[in-house]
């Protein structure tokens, strides 16, 4: 605990309470206090004592870290606390009955040949083994199969990304051997499950001989760039988000105007505050002729997250955050809410499913790559 407090700079805390007052969950009305957890850590209280004090409530969105005047890494603290609580055989009751965690653990166990590429269409050029670019799909195929109740199309973003890579002359590797990155197991504290996934995945990409690893998922990206780091060998491919990969290559794509669209951009917490990628997705959108980007009042480092990043918390407060966020998006007058993480889409779409206020808060949601890929279509048909 002392080590954790030191590593996350918790000792520097001077009790100002900025964390608690910026926490989106607290603002939505929850009885929850990051500051109390920091204090508990400094006092050396065991993680198990925090379990009943909202250990799994934190969205890990890093809003508080961004505001903390002394740079306490509260999100890192929560991660560490969850890991040590997990060792004491405690885990949260995960939303969706834990179905997604089970799916991840089944993948972690391995021993079967997944059938995860059924969505690949003939017009997409990919290779299962060799290529310069390794395109990391993430688990969008599982999400689309699971969230059938509310019109979730995260695979469209995956396909669009591959289409764009093809347009740049790349035939990316899309591997049937890919497994979940383990992000969500890690964030509920299941280090063991996470590590077996991590080892498999790092090995898979290292052996592929690719030069760049590109993904469309903000969470996968964070996991690869930060959490996999200790496992990553020296000559490992560069790890990029699709928006980073594409942002300086948009001229080569020869995009033409498709239709006039006002778009607003939802910064995924993993991409924004966790990794500091704010500009590239915006540059990418702005490169599409006909797309006008309008910002929500809270954007960039101040962006409100989708309130469900780690599949470990979903409650009325999360819903309230989502509804507020969607209202903000609607108020910009945008036709489409663009994001760069499949989970933002899933959670915000879930909120739109509300039978009472659904109409008021609904807005089309798409992945950034989809908008860009659409501007290719026009060129093809000319």
């Amino acid at each position: 605990m002392q080590q954790l407090a030191a590593r996350t700079n918790a000792w520097a805390c001077y009790d100002c309470g900025k964390c608690t007052s910026t926490c989106p969950i607290v603002r939505a009305g929850a009885t929850y206090s990051p500051r109390r957890h920091v204090l508990a850590a400094n006092l050396g209280e065991p993680a198990s004592s925090i379990v009943h004090d909202g250990l799994y409530v934190c969205l890990t969105c890093r809003q508080c870290d961004a505001r903390c005047p002394v740079e306490v890494d509260y999100t890192g603290l929560i991660l560490g606390l969850r890991q040590s609580a997990y060792d004491e055989t405690t885990q949260p009751e995960c939303p969706h009955g834990g179905a997604l965690q089970s799916t991840m653990r089944l993948m972690a166990n391995g021993g079967t040949q997944q059938d995860r590429l059924g969505w690949l269409k003939e017009d997409l050029q990919t290779d299962p083994k060799k290529g310069r670019v390794f395109y990391w799909t993430g688990c969008t195929m599982y999400y689309d199969a699971f969230f059938t109740d509310f019109d979730v199309h995260t695979l469209d973003g995956t396909r669009a990304a591959i289409k764009l890579l093809n347009a740049l002359g790349e035939t990316p590797i899309v591997s049937p051997e890919e497994r979940c990155c383990g992000h969500d197991l890690l964030w509920i504290g299941d280090r063991k499950g996470f590590e077996s996934l991590a080892k498999h995945n790092v090995d898979l990409v290292a052996k592929s001989g690719a030069e760049v690893l590109v993904t469309s998922c903000a969470e996968c990206l964070r996991t690869w760039r930060i959490d996999y780091q200790p496992l990553i060998p020296d000559d490992f491919p560069e790890i990029l988000h699709i928006s980073e990969f594409l942002a300086d290559q948009t001229e080569k794509l020869d995009l033409s105007e498709n239709k006039q669209t006002r778009a607003t951009y939802q910064d995924p917490c993993r991409l924004g505050r966790h990794l500091g990628v704010y500009d590239q997705p915006r540059e990418l959108l702005e490169a599409v002729p006909g797309v006008e980007l309008v910002e929500m009042p809270r954007s960039g480092v101040r962006a409100i997250c989708c309130a469900g990043s780690t599949w470990s918390n979903c409650d009325r407060f999360a819903k309230k955050i989502q509804v507020e966020r969607l209202r903000e998006a609607r108020d910009t007058g945008a036709d489409v809410l663009v994001t760069a993480c499949p989970k933002c889409q899933i959670h915000l779409k879930c909120a739109m499913n509300d039978p009472n206020i659904g109409e008021e808060i609904s807005i089309e949601m798409r992945d950034a790559a989809e908008l860009v890929a659409e501007a290719l279509d026009k060129r093809d048909s000319k």
Partner: protein
């Protein structure tokens, strides 16, 4: 547990049964002293509509070799349309199970009424045979890596 000899290996099957029909059907089989394969554990739920993907996936995760989902015949659900929900949930579960590379024969949906004791025995025997043919689940041999934890309300 699992040994090399296929015939001496007994599968572990999880059966989800609704309170009003299939569970009662199993009871009927028992009361009528119908012999059937014993290698399953039954989990009673109030209605098959309750059986969400998480239940089945958790069973596989914890090493089940086969999972049987059962409920009242369509039109006979105690809660009118619970088993129609069950079909939706089952289809969703099946697509994930297949994606994970688990043989689809390891998962089955059956309607068994409370009077159908003989049919219950038949389904169990047949399913057990089918699982025996497939052999142990790839997740069964090692057992699940994760210990079941005490649930804690988030």
């Amino acid at each position: 547990m699992a040994t090399k000899d296929k015939n001496s290996w007994d599968p572990e099957i999880v059966v989800f049964a609704c309170n009003w029909c299939s569970y009662a059907g199993a009871d009927t089989a028992g009361v009528s002293r119908i012999q059937h394969q014993p290698h399953f554990r039954m989990i009673r739920v109030m209605c098959s509509g309750r059986i969400q993907p998480a239940f089945v996936l958790r069973a596989f995760e914890r090493g089940a070799d086969g999972v049987l989902v059962s409920g009242c015949h369509i039109g006979e659900c105690h809660y009118i349309f619970g088993n129609e929900r069950a079909i939706e949930q089952f289809e969703k579960t099946m697509s994930i199970v297949k994606m994970l590379g688990i043989e689809e024969q390891r998962l089955r949906l059956e309607w068994i009424s409370s009077a159908e004791g003989a049919r219950f025995a038949e389904v169990i025997n047949e399913f057990t045979e089918q699982i025996r043919e497939l052999g142990p689940s790839p997740f069964g041999r090692k057992r699940s890596p994760a210990k079941a934890g005490k649930g804690v309300a988030g």
